[in-house]
Amino acid sequence: MLNEISAETALQQVAIRLRAQVDLLKLAAEKQGVSMSDTATVSGQLATAEITASNINQQNAARLEAAVLMAKLFAESAGGEVADTRQVVSTMVTQEIGASTVYQQIAVRQDAYMKMMEVAATAFAVDSSKLKAVRLDATLNDARASTVQQQIVARMSGTKDVILLLCESQLEGGILLIR
């Protein structure tokens, strides 16, 4: 019981932080030049999905989808290839079809979120070798996961590592490449 309450609290924390990421990505995308109507569209879809969500897991799944779409806008505004971002979304939608549970759906969207940030990192001229290393590490952890929850944890770690790598690359040396 205690573990369940604790798990519920942990899921709520995940939901809150996912929502915060969506909002932060919205600010970053708008700062990059994305129109507010585009970001508002994603935010509206998220609001609608949250209303229809019956539990915290569905809410997290909706927020993850919004994070993926907002990351798409951010990556494209940074100069990422539209074909790459569309490929990520297409793969996500395809894999969601085979997802039988909301956790599997969250796992698929978490993977799409990580890949979308990889596209953004590529657009920001992050070292490709470092990016491959992060992706390989996430793939290994994903393969080691015995449950979908551990799979989600591995993919969340991969997402976090890509974002940190992106931030570190932008702060290194003080000279950024302008594409």
């Binding site: 942990a10 600010l27 929850q149 989600i152 969340m156 940190l164 931030c167 302008i178």
Partner: protein
């Protein structure tokens, strides 16, 4: 009375007596180019010299008559007048010009040689002095001035013409120079305006860009940039903003990234389940996205506001 030969157009005629030549001269039959000589094959003299020689001879004859008859005052006056006329004519021999008018009547016979208005005065009547008439005096002054010969007059005229020509030439050159300078100034002004028209928009554009980004640089990159309808311009501004990020801001963000890694490790150790691990990683990802948003230009207050509200 001497006899003279007359040479006209190469033909020699004569000899003629002086009285006859005087009568012919009075009648206008003696031309200016006629030459005279006492001998047929001698050296012929001009009409002026002929008249002077005739006067000299007449003066000598009259002087002899005065010596013999001192009462003949008219003859003495005539001699004096002839002496004056001779001096004037001597000057006229050197300077070509109108001979000065005689100031008194001549002796009988001489008046036919020179003619003129004074010749109309009756022999026994003295001509009024010219100085008694101011206008006539002025005329006499002019007439008594040294006359200029043709060459001198031509020189003066040429000099005056040359001066006027030079003055006109200099005036034309000055006008042309002023016109050229005016045209050059206009050309320079046109070129300057064209260059300014080309450079001003470029300079204004760069000044606006620089002021915008420098303002953000001095404010630590937290100054918000006015939204623009052009997404490309916004992207460029964001990239320039990152490029111009201050070192202090970069140090702060690097510290934030290290803190995220450290807290993630410590929190992951205490995580009881996969849900807790997810919570820990979601928190790390959230903070990393906040750093990324600040890197692209979102103010730290905005990102902290989002994190604080959601957390």
């Amino acid at each position: 009375m001497r006899s003279w030969f007359l040479k006209r157009s190469g033909n020699i005629s004569g000899p003629f007596s002086e009285s006859k030549l005087r009568a012919a001269m009075k009648a206008g039959k003696i031309h200016a180019e006629d030459r005279f000589c006492l001998e047929k094959n001698g050296s012929y003299i001009s009409r002026t010299e002929f008249i002077k020689m005739c006067l000299s001879a007449a003066t000598a004859a009259d002087s002899n008559a005065a010596d013999s008859n001192a009462a003949d005052s008219n003859a003495a006056e005539s001699n004096a007048a002839e002496s004056n006329a001779g001096e004037s004519n001597a000057g006229a021999a050197k300077v070509v010009g109108p001979p000065p008018l005689p100031s008194c009547s001549y002796a009988e016979g001489d008046e036919w040689l020179f003619g003129g208005d004074s010749a109309l005065v009756p022999a026994g009547q003295t001509e009024p002095a010219i100085r008694e008439f101011p206008s006539a005096q002025t005329t006499a002054d002019v007439l008594h001035q040294p006359a200029l010969n043709d060459r001198q007059q031509l020189r003066q005229v040429d000099a005056a013409g040359g001066f006027l020509s030079n003055a006109a030439h200099e005036l034309n050159e000055k006008e042309d120079r002023e016109k050229r300078e005016e045209v050059d100034q206009k050309k320079f002004a046109i070129v300057a305006v064209c260059i300014a028209a080309l450079l001003i928009p470029v300079l204004v554009f760069f000044a606006v860009q620089a002021s915008s980004h420098l303002g953000e640089l001095f404010s630590g990159g937290e100054a918000s940039v006015a939204s623009s309808s052009s997404s490309g311009a916004e992207a460029l501004k964001s990239k320039l903003r990152r490029k111009l990020m201050s070192s202090e801001k970069k140090a702060t963000l690097r510290g934030e990234l290290q803190a995220i890694q450290t807290e993630l490790v410590s929190s992951d150790i205490s995580a009881k389940s996969a849900f807790h691990q997810q919570a820990v990683r979601s928190q790390a990802a959230m903070r990393a996205v906040a750093v990324l948003a600040q890197i692209v230009g979102v103010s730290s207050s905005d990102t902290e506001g989002v994190v604080r509200t959601r957390a």
